[in-house]
């Protein structure tokens, strides 16, 4: 098991900024007054953030990934989380196998 000093410093810096992001939201919460547009923006945070994280792999990788994502969305509209993931993974495996990619 090797541990490179530069790698360790990088990991600790990543951990530091991540904990800072986790704690700071918690610390500023009581100062937020939400109404109207601000409140709507705040309510949009989860969907906006989760979408942004996966957009490259869903929209900018290949048509197979985009098609599998469409199948996953259909599944997500009526099935529980685990079934949704299973169908999504199954869809990408089938599409890649069928198109030899």
């Amino acid at each position: 098991m090797s541990l490179d000093l530069t790698n360790l410093v990088a990991i600790l810096c990543m951990a530091g900024v991540t904990y800072a992001t986790r704690l700071s939201g918690f610390l500023i919460a009581h100062r937020l007054v939400l109404h109207g547009r601000m409140k709507a923006g705040f309510q949009a945070i989860p969907a906006a953030v989760l979408t942004a994280v996966i957009a490259p792999s869903v929209l900018a990788t290949g048509w197979q990934e985009t098609a599998a994502a469409a199948v996953t969305i259909l599944a997500a509209m009526r099935l529980p989380l685990l079934a949704t993931v299973a169908i999504g993974v199954g869809a990408i495996v089938l599409l890649r196998a069928a198109t030899g990619s």
Binding site: G25, I45, V53, A55, I73
Partner: protein
């Protein structure tokens, strides 16, 4: 049965699907990191202390030797900036937790356990047993499977063959569906997805996260009725009165 056990059990039940979905994702992360040249010990240290899937994948993508510390830290900050908003949204719903429980619980807040806590808070009070059970089992689960992936990394021929790389996307699509609130969410998702994909194309990772998030939030702000429940300002501040998402079930 004590309420403690009931609450812990409810937490475990709620996080179970995400924890199972995290198995291939964690193993994939460990394998990719090992393939990049990180040791299993380094992979575990990152999972232990960073514990943020999206940022960890991006870091492995960026990693060089020697490690570009500034770039890695900045990328992590950019991708995890969403935690500020997530934490601010969840904080008012954690009134039943002691300060040390909040500090500990927030240290292991990730998209999945946060999403489940937000959903839980719409109908129940968040209890320490619920929060701790779900969050730490989810955290331990990530530790175990990323290490397994790192150790097995060299034996895994091609993760794409079993679709493991797509499990992350599928999991997030399922989580987004849990926050669906009709047209407003649809416009938010469309704006965020297009902005993120275009930014990824033009500027690359990790800029797409900030660009997509801001576009989605901005569109939601513009579409909203500015006068909507202006009289409910006080209510918006009260604990559990400003749900971020809507329960679908």
């Amino acid at each position: 049965m004590s309420s403690l056990a009931t609450e812990a059990r409810a937490g475990l039940r709620d996080i179970a699907p995400a924890a199972i979905a995290a198995i291939p994702i964690g193993a994939l992360f460990g394998a990719l990191a090992a393939a990049k040249g990180l040791s299993p010990l380094e992979v575990s240290l990152m999972s232990l202390f960073v514990f943020a899937g999206g940022a960890q994948f991006a870091a492995v993508e960026i990693w060089r030797f020697p490690a570009p510390i500034a770039v890695l830290t900045f990328s992590t900050l950019l991708i995890n900036a969403r935690h500020v908003l997530m934490g601010a949204s969840l904080a008012p719903k954690t009134g039943a937790l002691r300060p040390w429980q909040k500090a500990l619980g927030f240290a292991v807040m990730a998209d999945e356990n946060w999403a489940m806590m937000e959903r839980r808070a719409q109908r129940h009070t968040l209890t320490p047993a619920y929060v701790m059970a779900m969050s730490f089992v989810f955290w331990l689960n990530w530790q175990f499977w990323t290490l397994v992936g790192a150790l097995a990394g060299t034996f895994l021929s091609d993760p794409r063959m079993v679709g493991a790389d797509f499990a992350f996307s599928a999991l997030f699509i399922g989580l987004i569906a849990g926050f669906w609130k009709g047209r407003a969410t649809g416009v938010t998702v469309a704006a965020s997805g297009v902005a993120a994909a275009v930014t990824y194309h033009l500027a690359g990772a990790p800029w797409h996260v900030a660009a997509g998030a801001l576009a989605g939030i901005g569109v939601a702000c513009l579409m909203a009725d500015p006068d909507e429940d202006a009289s409910a300002d006080a209510a918006a501040l009260a604990p559990r009165a400003a749900p971020v998402g809507e329960v679908r079930s």
